[in-house]
Structures are given as C-alpha cells and as structure tokens.
C-alpha cells in the first residue's frame, strides 16, 4: 500500500536545545490523524528515544516519519560513526554516552532496548565509518 504521509526532521549532533522537538511534532501529527491510545504511546516513546540517540551518539542524521494506511514507520538514518558491536548495543544498561550526555540524565543504556520493545517491527543496520539506520514499524489496528 502506498505511503500517504512523509515528514523528515534533520537532527544535529549534541543539539540538546532542540532535542525532543522532532518527536513532539511527530506526536502532534499522529494526534491530528486520529491515531491515539497504545500506538501513539509506543510511537511517542520510540521516536523520543531515537531522536535522543541521534543527538547523543550520531554525527548527525535524519528522522523520517511515514504513515501508511496499515502502519506508522519511523526511520532514523545517520552519517556515522556506526556501532561496532550491535548485540552489545542492544543490551539493557549498556551505554557509550559521554559525560555531557550523562550529566543531562541520559545514557542509562535503555534507548535501543526501549525502541525494540515498543515497535512491532524493529530493524537495525550499522556499519562503522558509514552510519546506522534504524527502521521501526507500528501496526495500526
């Protein structure tokens, strides 16, 4: 089925000042579309986590919201640095966040596990030196 809504949000490294604004806009859009309840809740959590991940860990990238008649899709694509050990990164409590991020209360190592838990479909591709792409799908009832 064809994609009906597509919005992209550039997210910059260490831009803590606007962190959360992309996920706030995504939430507003879904509410305007009448997508509520459990799906909205899960997309909210996952989009916030993935946006913060771009701010904290990436060299900058883009978050894209797509809405299809059957599901909502979030794609986060960054320009590096890439994750050397994916299975380690997916483990709860594991974090490589720097001191700046930790001083702001981030870096609990729950980001990726939280995204995986909230999405109906979760895919992560990463190559060191190239970048990471996370694709999450949320089924609409």
């Amino acid at each position: 089925m064809t994609e009906l809504i597509r919005s992209s949000y550039p997210v910059e490294t260490a831009d803590y000042a606007s962190a959360g604004s992309a996920s706030a806009d995504i939430k507003r859009k879904l509410k305007q579309l009448g997508i509520t309840g459990d799906v909205l809740r899960r997309v909210s959590v996952a989009s916030y986590e993935v946006e913060l991940n771009l701010v904290i860990h990436s060299l900058g990238g883009e978050l894209t919201l797509s809405v299809f008649p059957e599901y909502v899709q979030l794609v986060s694509a960054d320009r590096g640095p890439g994750i050397p050990d994916l299975s380690l990164a997916m483990r709860e409590g594991w974090s490589t966040a720097n001191d700046e991020a930790r001083s702001l209360g981030f870096g609990a190592g729950m980001g990726l596990p939280n995204m995986k838990r909230n999405a109906d479909d979760f895919d992560i591709q990463s190559e060191v030196g190239v970048g990471t792409t996370i694709t999450m799908k949320f089924k609409l009832a």
């Binding site: 009906l4 809504i5 919005s7 959360g20 996920s23 706030a24 939430k27 507003r28 859009k29 509410k31 305007q32 579309l33 009448g34 997508i35 509520t36 309840g37 909205l40 809740r41 909210s44 959590v45 916030y48 809405v67 008649p69 609409l140």
Partner: protein, 434 residues
Amino acid sequence: MLEEKRYHSVRLDKERCRGCTNCLTRCPTEAIRVRGGRAHIVDTLCIDCGECIRICDYHAKVAVTDQLEDIKRFKYSIALPAPSLYGQFRGLKKPVYVLEALKSIGFTDVFEVARGADVVTRAIRERLRDTSLPRPVISSACPAVVRLIQVRFPELLDHVIDIRQPMEVAASIARAEFCRKHECAPHEVGCFFITPCPAKMTAIRRPIGQKKSELDGAISMMELYGLLLPHIEKMQADPNFVPATGYGVAWATSDGEANAVCPGSSLSVDGIPNVIRVLEEVENLKLTDLEYLEGNACMGGCVGGPMAFENNYVAKAAIRKLVAEMPKTHPDADVPVSMLTKYPIKNDMPFEPNDAMRLDDNLIVAMQMMNRVNEIMERLPGYDCGSCGSPTCRTFAEDIVHGYCSEMDCIHLMKERLRVMAEEMVTLAQTRRE
C-alpha cells in the same frame, strides 16, 4: 468550528474587541481566530484557562460568573471561598475574618473549600495505595489542566485521579451539614464557589468526571473584593469555628497540593506552557518514577487566577504567612476516614478524550488533508504573525484545508502576488508602446 455550542465562562465582548493579535498568539490551545475584524473563540478547543483575559489590552475577553444577587434565588446561601481568597487581603491574620465578612455581605453560611481540600488530600492519599494506577498520578484539581489533557494528551487521561475537586467535595459536605442543622431541604440551599478563575465556573456548568456539579454557581473574587474589604477590617470571628488545616489552605498556591498529598515523590508545575512541557515528558515515559503530578494553569497556582485581585506573588507570600501561623496538623490526622464514605468523593463519570485536534475521523481523509496542509505551508512565510487571523502559519494552512479561509488572507502572499501583478502590468505597458 466557529459556532458556539458548549458552555464557556470565557467570552468575547464584541464591542471592545479590536481584532488585534494579542490573544490570538497567546492562546495555549490555538483556540482563537480573528475573522471579520474581531476575535472568535473556537468552542471545542477552549479550555477556559483565561490566558486571553489577562493579555487583552482592551478588556474584550471576559469571564462570565454569577452575581452576588443570584444568591437570593435560594432561601439559604452558602459561600464556599477558594483558599486563594485568603491571599487577597494584605495583613490578614486568620482565614476566619474572611468567612465572617462573607456572612456580612449576605451569605447565610460559609464553608471553607480548604476544608474540602483536606478531605480530598486524605482521599487521594488512600487512592494512591492502588499501584495499578499509572504513574505519575495526575491531579484533577485544575479543570483547565484536565481539559488540556482531554484535548492534547488524551492518552494520559487514565493518569488523572478520579477524585472530585475540593470545591465539589466541600459543597456536598456544606449542604448536608447545613440541612441537618437547620432542618431544611437540599434544594432550598444554594452553594456558591468564590472563584479566582473561569475554568471553575465552566466546571460547574459543564462538569468533567461528574454527571452534575454539587455547586449552584460561582461568583468572581474580583466582584466581591471591594465589598469584603471593610468587613474584614472589623476582624470578627465565630468562637466555635473549626478551621481547615494549613495544608488545605496551601492548596491556594502551586506545590500546596503536591506537598499535602505526596511530599516525597511529586512534581508541581504552573503556567500552561510549562504544564505542556511536563506532560510531553509523561507521554514519553520519562517521569514514571514520580508518584504524583500537580499541574496548575495559572502561574503561582490558583492565586494567579485571572479573577484574583492581588498580584500572584504577593498573594502567595500572604498564603505562606497564614499557613506558617496555623497548627501543623496533617489532613491524615484531621479528617476521619469515615468522611471518605459519607459523602460523594469519587467521580461518577470517566474523563472523555476531546478529539478537536483531529483533522478528520477517517484516517485516509485526514492524511490527505495533512498533505494539503504541508503543501500550503511550503508557500507560507513561517512568520507566525497572526495577520491572517490564525495564530500560526500551520493553523492557517489547516484552516484553509478546512475551508475557513483562503491563501490570499496571508498578507505576505498577497504582497508577493501584487508584486508579480505589478511587474506583469509594466511588461504589458511596455509591449504596447512598441
């Protein structure tokens, strides 16, 4: 969208409105439009917070409440002053002087809403034992915040505590006690809330969480301030009066409720934009380690209400001083547990989501509309100037898609169009000459 259906205390005085953009751009729910040279309040989006009343330089936004003479509709009348009323009188030594003053201006009896807050405090503390309630549990005391959640955060409605507001609980107790003492029928007694805000007035006429309000009306604090002042100076007190606790009185200011209910793990936030920011965090599951969340639409809490007379900071200091001089008894020790079953404390209706933000009920249609909104937005300048009569370029694009206005209502697009036309005319004139 622009028609008026639901009851709202916040209204527009058409004669006074100049059609400026002050209220337009300040409304936290984007519920105002300027059309035909004057403001309109979008009935489904307005949460009666009163922000527009505060900001309007022309006093064109008003809060409709009952008048003092309305108490004469009843054989007996009880005044139920919001605790914030005590913060309006500089140098006030005891709340009881305000209560006696209320009797002097015509009320048969008085009952402190602070007393209702004591009972509600105890009830909420009992209710918080239920660990199945999603955390943080959100206060239901500020009706503007509850309506904000209905419009913008409907999936957080199950966090909102299902206990009635202090004024409602106070009215139930006041009426029952009065009828018992004076052997009269409940309908002979009128219960009037003395209010600092329009949201409470609306909550009486159009209750949330309750089928029917226990109150018969509300009278603006501003209305009574001047009348009360000379009587308060007399400092008369009923020797048999048993006052509410300092904890109940402190509900007048931000943090008072949270401090009474859950001092160990709570957050209090005041001012609608701040409340929105915190609710976003709750929505992102970032505050799950918090027990209780108190949100107030007005800065400083109820003392900051648009119908309060005194500056909210001064009023807050006055409340603090009053509370400091009161005994430190907590409502847990002051309110017998039997009170919680004797009177209606819990809501009898669920909090319903308000889907006014929705573009259309049909997902596909809504998506098509959103795409048109995005398309139009690309042509708009993004100044959010309000000259078109919509609060932002985005709401303007939405209004176009809904068919309420057209792109040429944007003066910047219009200017651009004129420039192109002028250039075409020059070209045309030059072609003719050759």
